[in-house]
């Protein structure tokens, strides 16, 4: 086929290198980020499934319908049923209200139980469950009953031997602060214990996994009644989830920016390619080819180029993701599904969409060249209007945004941002260019350089747009990368607490603090803990307040309440205010998300029952909480004095230099204090963040390469014009120095103005992205206003002058010759 041969010949002559490179970079960026986000997302889901104990969890007040079990079986879905209810457990003369959980073989379907051989032992995963006649108790229960492995406890009508300490239970909801003691026992012992009596508050929790889980979910969802709740693996663990969600959002955003930059490079190089071929197209027509045939040849060239370059991009993308994702997967300690073919498909599609959107106008132009152009170079060619080009490009951006995010709203925002930025840069750019004329007085070289800019505002405006949007994209991605990573680092600092301590009594408090400090530990503040249940909002019962909707999980049971006059450093008030020293008792601040879920307003009064008593407090503010900080955090913090009348224990978290040995020592010394090590989770979060940071950095490099491509493309586009003008200047006696300096003046000015526009755009865009997308605190990067123009001025100046040197160094005769061809 002639198109293929032409393509190969042009490619080997180097004419298509930049266009091909732009496609490769755009596709590689899209593929890498897509595979990264896709696989991290799946990793998170798998992780969340392990935390749920299965892919789906059904909670109901009665056993599951046999019909549903049959459905599950026919769909190949695994099932295990557990029964949960509160009951009093006794040891000697001590009794404790405990959450009992009855399990059968096969539990849990996803994730693993972790147990320890003694109170001070180290936890390890197991796939066993308690044997009949035995039970596993959690640290809280053993410390409250003051027992250890080997002791017996009375459970209903029978006695069970505690054989293991339950360290971790996958599907246990809630955070560290809302722990009730837990006892795990075998289903076989349920009947003889006679624990379940008419009127018992029993919860049947059925876990499902694998098979046609989606089909099964759809089936069950259509049959649920109001008392049954089905939960999927949508929310993972918040500590890890937050970091990963932000990382994937960042990757998508950065990937999209790279694609946009490469798109701009594709548009410019394709336009250049088209204008190089206008005469060729006319020539083809003189050979007797119809417009359609001419179009077919050029279109085939572009399509083949697109396929080949996109395939290269996909390969590069997959190789990079293997390096990046597999290292992340190792840290998630779960097996990842193999990378799917979807990102490859998406990568290829990216190639096509960018090529179509950004190069189609050029292609259409080529099929419309009248043959008379071979005689008359100035014969007008029907060029697609600027608006048409923008529409095509917008279509491409929109299609990519949607392909990428599957989110129409986000796509709309991206489109809007692109339109606003392009318009603003165009308008401000033109005004600035017009105002440059005073610079002409500096020297003859400056006069030529600046005139070059003023003479052709369309072309210099386009270059300005290319440079400033490139600088903006690079600045944005770099900014978010450094900010995100430093935010993560401050959220999970190296000295983050690695152990929680619960049940510290008033009389133990001083000794406990002393003991921790003597072991070289760092303590967070100690918070008094009182357990209470939310009953009323403004005097109405919670259920009525919520209009019959099920209340969020964290208030359905007793919640750990605290009071404090000091706002934790990982909390910040986003609505209302925190307490001041003049505030008395009777006020409360609520965690933001819970506040919204409860449909509260600032000024509402909430009522709690604490044992037999009631307490009411006015909501005066909401707090955003960084749960991943590992500091003690609470849904409700009351103003000092509110909880004073109630008996309380203390809770804190601390950093121990050697947690495994030291928790055992402290446990022995303070037997009633419960210690929970979070070292493993902390290490996991840190490891993930380190890898994600690497991934994020790789994307930054992509954006940089995209930026350089745009720069090169835009300068290459203007080369023929430059060559011609240099040739004329040289033939009129302009010295090399003059030409060199005027190029300096021109590019330096372009760079400085671009930097200024980019700083402006970055401030605007980062405000939007920080406050609306990432929920990070935003502050103006006013420093950028100073150094962005300097940096872009230097970069554009050096690269611009270097790339345009061709136009300077050739003898004028030669320049005039090629300028004419």
């Amino acid at each position: 086929m002639i198109a293929l041969r032409l393509l190969w010949r042009e490619f080997s002559s180097g004419q298509l290198t930049l266009l091909a490179l732009a496609i490769v970079v755009s596709v590689a960026a899209m593929t890498t980020t897509e595979v990264l986000t896709d696989r991290i997302d799946r990793a998170m889901r798998a992780d969340a499934a392990a935390l749920l104990g299965g892919d789906l969890k059904l909670r109901a007040p009665r056993p599951i319908e046999t019909e549903w079990l049959a459905q599950a079986k026919s769909r190949g879905v695994l099932v295990t049923e557990t029964i949960e209810f509160p009951s009093v457990i006794g040891s000697g003369s001590t009794f404790e209200l405990t959450g009992i959980k009855i399990i059968t073989d096969g539990y849990p379907l996803k994730g693993q139980l972790e147990i320890a051989d003694s109170r001070a032992g180290i936890g390890y995963p197991t796939s066993r469950i308690p044997d009949p006649g035995t039970a596993w108790a959690d640290p809280q229960l053993v410390s409250k009953l003051n027992i250890d492995v080997g002791d017996r406890v009375s459970v209903g009508e029978i006695e069970l031997e505690i054989t293991k300490i339950l360290v971790f239970e996958p599907d246990r909801g809630g955070s560290f602060v809302s722990l009730t003691p837990r006892l795990l026992m075998n289903r076989v012992d349920l009947e003889s214990s006679q624990l379940i009596q008419p009127g018992s508050r029993v919860r049947y929790v059925t876990l499902f996994a694998d098979g046609d889980i989606q089909g099964f979910q759809a089936y069950v969802e259509s049959k649920l009644d109001i008392s049954q709740r089905l939960r999927g693996v949508v929310d993972g663990r918040p500590e890890v989830g937050n970091a990963l969600t932000r990382a994937t959002t960042y990757l998508s955003l950065a990937g999209l920016l790279t694609v946009l930059l490469s798109g701009a490079a594709i548009a410019m190089t394709a336009n250049r390619w088209a204008s190089d071929h206008v005469t060729d197209s006319a020539l083809f027509r003189t050979f007797g080819l119809s417009g359609r045939e001419t179009f077919k040849i050029f279109a085939a060239e572009l399509v083949v180029l697109g396929v080949v370059a996109s395939s290269f991009g996909v390969i590069i993308g997959y190789v990079l993701q293997i390096v990046l994702v597999d290292s992340i997967a190792g840290l998630l300690t779960i097996s990842l599904p193999e990378p799917s073919g979807r990102p490859a498909l998406l990568g290829l599609l990216t190639g096509f969409v960018t090529l179509l959107g950004f190069a189609a106008p050029a292609l259409i132009l080529l099929s419309n060249v009248p043959p008379i152009r071979v005689f008359k170079r100035d014969y007008p060619v029907a060029v697609m209007g600027q608006l048409g080009r923008y529409l095509f490009a917008l279509f491409a951006v929109g299609a990519l945004g949607y392909l990428y995010s599957n989110d129409l709203r986000l796509t709309g925002w991206v489109l809007l941002a692109v339109i606003i930025l392009v318009t603003a840069v165009t308008l401000i750019g033109r005004i600035i260019i017009r105002g440059l004329s005073p610079l002409e007085r500096l020297s003859p070289a400056w006069r030529f350089g600046i005139q070059q800019l003023i003479r052709d505002p369309a072309s210099s405006g386009a270059q300005l747009m290319a440079f400033s949007l490139t600088a903006l994209a690079v600045a944005m991605v770099a900014l978010i990368r450094f900010d995100l990573i430093s935010t993560w680092e401050t959220q999970v600092p190296n000295d983050a607490p690695n152990t929680f301590a619960l049940n510290i009594t008033d009389q133990d408090q001083a000794n406990f603090i002393q003991a921790v400090i003597s072991k070289g530990g760092d303590l967070a503040p100690l918070y008094p803990i009182v357990r209470g249940r939310l009953e009323t909002v403004n005097g109405t019962l919670l259920v009525e307040h919520l209009g019959g909707m099920e209340p969020p999980g964290s208030v359905r049971r007793e919640l750990s309440l605290t009071e404090s006059g000091v706002l934790g450093r990982d909390n910040f008030i986003d609505r209302g205010r925190f307490f001041t020293s003049t505030d008395g008792p009777g006020l409360v601040t609520v965690e933001s998300k819970l506040f919204d879920e409860l449909g509260l307003e600032i000024g509402d009064f909430i009522g709690y029952t604490i044992g037999p008593d009631r307490v009411s407090a006015e909501v005066i503010g909401t707090r955003k909480v960084q749960w991943e900080s590992m500091l003690p955090n609470f849904f409700m913090i009351f103003s000092p004095g509110t909880l004073e009348p109630f008996q309380s224990t203390r809770l804190t978290s601390m950093r121990l230099p050697n947690p495994s040995a030291q928790t055992a020592e402290i446990s022995r010394e303070f037997r009633q204090v419960t210690l929970l090590s979070v070292d493993a989770i902390l290490n996991q979060i840190r490891g993930i963040l380190a890898r994600v940071s690497q991934a994020v950095s790789v994307v930054l490099y992509f954006v940089l390469v995209g930026g350089i491509l745009v720069l090169a493309a835009s300068i290459q586009t203007s080369l023929p014009e430059r060559r011609k003008e240099s040739a004329i200047l040289r033939s009129l006696g302009g010295s090399d120095d003059l030409l060199s300096q005027s190029q300096w003046a021109e590019f330096l000015t372009l760079g400085v103005v671009s930097g200024l526009l980019a700083a402006l755009g970055t401030d605007f865009l980062s405000w939007f992205v920080y406050s609306k997308v990432f929920n990070l605190e935003w502050s103006s990067k006013w420093q950028g206003w100073g150094f962005a123009p300097v940096i872009t001025g230097a970069i554009v100046g050096v690269i611009g002058r270097w790339s345009a040197r061709q136009a300077r160094q050739m003898p004028p005769a030669y320049l005039l010759k090629i300028a004419d061809t």
Binding site: R9, S13, Q15, G288
Partner: protein
């Protein structure tokens, strides 16, 4: 036929007025005249690259009027060749590939195109430079490539627009010589526009175009 343009103010400018011209197969015709007299416009009308404002042009009895550009292109296909003042070679292609192009566009195989093109490059004296790209060739050499390209599909009619216009005198002469030698050998009809009197003198007929009027000077 007559032909004109509208200027920016909407005023009609007449370039060619009531011309009548008949060119026989195997003729060689030079169109001369001052700059801006419409020589290139006349050439592009004769080649069917544009249509006259009024009147008609017939090629081998086939009319160009009332046809779309694509239909006119199909009449040109394989039967009309061009040589341009600025050569119009594809910069990315070698000399050989440039000459092969019209044959390949007509659907000939690569091998056959290559054979025929190589032999034509031989005939124009460029056998040693067939793998050079246009930028590595002198102006005269580039025009030789263009001439080889114009003759390679053995057209019935060859249009040349100032074929020596971009060349120095000596090179121009050698191109002129080549053009007429090939014209004689292949029996192609040759229509050329030129300022170059020596070139015009070699033609059997010379037509002078001025103020929209065409006058036969010699023939």
């Amino acid at each position: 036929m007559s032909h004109g343009f509208e200027d920016q103010t909407g005023h009609r400018l007449s370039v060619l007025e009531s011309l009548e011209l008949k060119i026989n197969p195997g003729d060689s015709v030079a169109i001369v005249g001052p700059s801006g007299s419409g020589k290139s416009t006349l050439l592009s009308l004769l080649a069917g690259l544009d249509v006259p404002g009024s009147g008609d042009i017939l090629f081998n009895g086939e009319t160009f009027s009332g046809l779309t550009e694509d239909q006119r292109a199909s009449i040109r296909r394989g039967r009309i060749g061009f040589v341009f003042q600025s050569f119009q070679l594809l910069q990315g292609l070698t000399a050989l590939e440039n000459v092969m192009l019209p044959l390949e566009l007509m659907g000939l195989s690569v091998n056959e195109s290559k054979q025929r093109s190589t032999s034509w490059l031989d005939r124009v004296g460029l056998e040693a430079r067939i793998h050079h790209r246009p930028r590595m060739l002198s102006g005269g050499e580039q025009q030789r490539v263009a001439v080889a390209r114009a003759f390679v599909n053995e057209p019935a009619l060859l249009f040349a627009d100032e074929p020596t216009g971009n060349l120095d005198r000596k090179t121009g002469e050698s191109i002129t010589e080549l053009l007429f030698k090939l014209n004689r050998e292949t029996g192609t009809t040759l229509i050329l526009v030129t300022h170059d009197e020596r070139l015009a003198d070699q033609c059997r007929r010379i037509l002078h175009l001025e103020d929209g009027q065409l006058n036969e000077v010699a023939g």
